[in-house]
Symmetry: D3
Subunit: 265 residues, 6 copies
């Protein structure tokens, strides 16, 4: 069993899920965010932290033997906001990990690194980046930093390009992108348990009938997602209007992010 897992961005939607579901996966969960996390529960430590503050991150990481990095901005925003949280923030995190014994990092990357690929195109780990906004660009930056620290220092990372991690799929596009919360948890367990991780990109999607992403390069880890968006197909077909084939939500893997402008703030 692990000693202490750090969850950054723990006050967010996904962070809240993991706060509950990773309970008991380590002796201590260290939870961090800029937003209020409420009181620490049993087996929890609360460490408020601005991820763009290098010294604070250095302290935050100390004593952890695993990190789930959800911190930062997770939608399209201005360059300034993304720079602070997602560029500088990732730099700070990897420097802190390097200083503190290189605990494994699960880095929450995103499908928006490849959002301009057509939904009729199957991708694997060698497919080119096609970001659909500065958010996606920042995740490419993060993957590049992870690669650098692996080659230079042996820091291991899982780069999880999360599709849509929600309790259930909510629209036609999510039939392909859905990552169930339980499957995300089992992925984190798998990553922390494996004897060898390296610096491995993993498509973060469940065992959906429909899908765009080939994870076979990462079969060495033995992660087998169990949930399937197809269980919700009839519900979606009844309740969500089917988009036309040329609408962004049906055409591009990044969906409506491809329609986002460049944000100014």
């Amino acid at each position: 069993m692990m000693n202490r897992i750090l969850i950054t961005g723990a006050a967010g939607q996904l962070g809240s899920v993991l706060r509950e579901k990773l309970k008991g996966h380590a002796k201590v969960l260290r939870l961090s965010d800029m937003a209020d996390l409420g009181p620490a529960g049993e087996g929890e430590e609360i460490v408020p932290c601005d991820i763009s503050d290098g010294d604070a991150v250095m302290d935050l990481v100390e004593g952890c033997d695993g990190i789930v990095h959800l911190g930062g901005i997770s939608v399209e925003k201005s360059f300034d906001l993304i720079e602070s949280a997602n560029l500088r923030g990732v730099h700070n995190l990897y420097e802190a990990a390097r200083a503190h014994g290189r605990p494994r990092i699960v880095f929450a990357s995103s499908n928006h690194t490849i959002g301009y690929h057509d939904q009729t195109t199957r991708l694997d780990h060698t497919s080119p980046y096609r970001p659909d906004g500065y958010y996606g660009v920042s995740k490419i930056f993060g993957e590049a930093v992870a690669s650098l620290y692996w080659d230079k220092f042996g820091q291991e990372s899982a780069l999880v390009r999360i599709g849509s991690c929600t309790p259930k799929p909510l629209n036609w596009r999510m039939l392909a992108t859905w990552l169930s919360e339980d499957d995300f948890v089992s992925l984190i367990d798998t990553v922390f348990r494996a004897p060898r991780l390296g610096c491995t990109m993993i498509w973060g999607a469940s065992n959906n009938d429909a899908g765009w992403w080939d994870n076979s390069h990462a079969d060495f880890l033995g992660w087998k997602p169990k949930d399937n968006s197809a269980d919700y197909l009839d519900e979606i077909a009844r309740t969500v209007p089917r988009p036309g084939p040329e609408e962004p939500v049906a055409k591009y893997q990044g969906g409506v992010f491809t329609d986002e402008p460049i944000h100014k703030s």
Copy 2:
């Protein structure tokens, strides 16, 4: 629910199956063939049509929001017969679809487009054509027409390279090529339901243990065939003499079609 699905070649073996199994998948099934189709059942329209007659096909397609094109010749025949039904016929169909709002087309292509590949060779959607007769050549022609109308006009098509669509597999080769009738129906449903189809080739085979064809490029559609020829392996082993490794039925993916001569009529 769809309004009206057109089935061409509806009097044939496969057409008869779909006439039954697609009942209720649209408000109306429009059934067409040169051969007699009997009286129209409930929810059926009978429209006799010679597919090589452009004007007739133009009328035939009007008012349909989906087409399953089984019409034409489905075995090796003379060039003249194939020209009329499978070359001119496909031209007529795509022109009619273009004129009438571009309903999606399920085009019954064939494994005989690639029949000279060795059975020990795994194919995917990028494998080269190797037709085993003029029938196979005509299906390549049809796939090319579909590609043209997609690039030029946005016409969507599913190019289904059907293996062997029969109630059950009947010989050793069909252990790989079998497409169960139910799986074909679920494929048609999937194609008509998907938000985006594009112009996509799909290998028409069930979830057989043995197989030559990789459909992963089309996983975006979410089609999951359920049937498995392996359920019939023991029966075939008991009742069908096992061919030698150099017999056409065991050597080539197109089987005995590779032994066909050029037909003169």
Copy 3:
């Protein structure tokens, strides 16, 4: 030295060039067309022929030990015209070759088999077809027939996807597509001389600095084109307005053919 080379379509632009340039490459050049070819010169035979007439083609091919098949339609036309000349015509030619000892065939295929590929995309012999009109579709049909006769009968063919065979390149697109007349002649010589040809697709372009097509799969033949469109770059830059990046002539490999409608006659 060869005994008799048949040139079909010998009255056309390219046919006229080869009539001159292949003089002396065989004891006899048999020249055929529906159009008037004038009187036979020394070492020439004139055999008028409608390629859509199977019996006539059967006679035409007899006694030849090499065929350069330029006959048929070489621009976008109606299906009826293309059917007669390019579908039926190719069928007739291959049947005649099969009946008369399988002389090698140089089949004039076209870049319009792949015309919808972007000009920024490099293609090789495994790239998918993307025809830009019925003309392109008919050349795909011809390549499929050639493949069939190779696998079934051992008929050897060179499938030459000609770019633009003109005395010199005339516009920006031809900087990539230009095939000089001399290079075409040397290709024909190479094809007829090689001990083994098989059924080989060859991109018909000169040794241009700019190009989209990779011929390395056919290096076994030893064809080395000598001419280079770059010698005409300055002249084109001075005299031809540079198209914008989204104009068909600059965007698609098939150029303005992608703008052609479906012809009705």
Copy 4:
């Protein structure tokens, strides 16, 4: 049903398993080894044989319609020992098979042919050899001999790169390499039953959640392993210390074989 299956190396660990489990898969099991095999059971023939003795092997193979070749050395040893058993022995076996009607051969190859590949790398049938010792080199030799006899004489072989064939997986590495005994038996059955085998490499691993090897090129055979090392994951996690990511057993597919010296005897 087969008439007589020969098992070489039948006194070894794997041979003993197959002696039991292949009982009844042929009318007669011919069991051979240099070591004592005890008395012949029902449906068994005992034929002691030194595989390096060509004349003896010639006799051994006579009358068999299937061969499972486990004979030879299966760990790292000196060149002299490997030469005699695994180089000369394979030569003798294929010469004998050629002389006696070319019964199909299941050749026990090994993961040590590719042992220096990283465990984070997914391999398929086209991946380069990277042997981790002379044992691995000798199996490459054997695969090359099998290829030669297929191309020259039509001898069919299954080249099974066995991972770890044990009653259950015993350590972290075997989560990927485990081949259950039952799955090995079903593979042998599949190989002997298939109408066409050719000369096909098959990764010898069960249906493990974790794995490095892609067998899809061999799907034409229809082999579906049933067992899964993941059933033993908890037991291994409790009882076997997890290796660090840079230890040979976690880093290389060949595991500790990569740490072996060159043996002198």
Copy 5:
């Protein structure tokens, strides 16, 4: 002829070269840097600018129909320095280009985006990033921004991964990485002249006998470098000690950059 080319980083080593060699390639060269550029020569405009100042960059780009972006840091430095010049700076540049009619951008990327690849490995445009420092990471960021602006806005860019642009190659590694100044100039000309550019990565190396990078995907541009590092091989062999095969300068494509620490300032 172009109207106005902007060169950022014009006071640097490479900028000074282009200031001279691009003279006359446009009516006006607009030269910009934070460092002193001296007085403007004929056909020159001097516009001092801090690339991290968005408003200033907005003004800088106005009126230009081509940009050669050399500005920013070109060696390994601290994150803070690289952030300001190479992350924020690139953002500013692309926003300014978007606001001012999307002049083509030649973006000086670097071999340090892939510096950890082994020198025995051949790369093409699909090879994965393996940055060797934050400098390399920042160039990956820049390539991602360029991709974003192409997909979202149609902004065209050439992403030139410059090897070593010096008057002549100076060591063994530069035999592979050398880009002569004249070849860089001809590349810029080619990029600005081409009818269609898209967003194309180009390896920035001369026509060296030794090399690691395959530019064939960009052959559509028609760039043919003329110089060859092999002309300097004897000189280097005489004057530069040959490194051992495991030294970073001989082992990694990024050379000694792989030995750089993380800089703190």
Copy 6:
């Protein structure tokens, strides 16, 4: 300059050529063979040696900083002869090199490792082996040993799959396979001069117009063969009957070796 290059098999046809042409490429050429080498010339050492004698080879290698291993059998022979010279011999050589500081080895491999590939197929360094005899199998064994010693001990090797090294090409097949003597010498120089070699396969053919083999993976070495078999095409066309397309010499890359039987002595 190198100190001492060992040439094994120095009395053979190729050895005699190198004895002359490598004169002066090292201070001393150590020449070894079982056959008589005559008296030592200036800068030569004669060391008779049976390559199958491990102790003798151990002595032979001592003091050399480069090895050109031509020793062994270079045509199809019995297993016994090949075993002694080409299997045991290679083992002895690599053990000796390991004991004596790992001088680089140029290993004379052969096109007969891939001899059953069709001449219309282009190969690269990832193409599968298809040996055409025990000679070819033995060269695969040698390549595997070289790979093992690279991964385990860092021993560097060039695996040169020699086509046909003769003063000039002598038949149609050699138009593709010819390696001029000068080009072989320049390859050896390149291999010994390069800072990093690794364990690299190199196709041993000149800069022939016709060819089957892609050496681009080895471009990092900078070897540029100068000679071209096409200079002899007319001579061959005049003097050597052109083989039919199905004759082994025209069909298979290994030529008439594919027609060889298994030798018994």
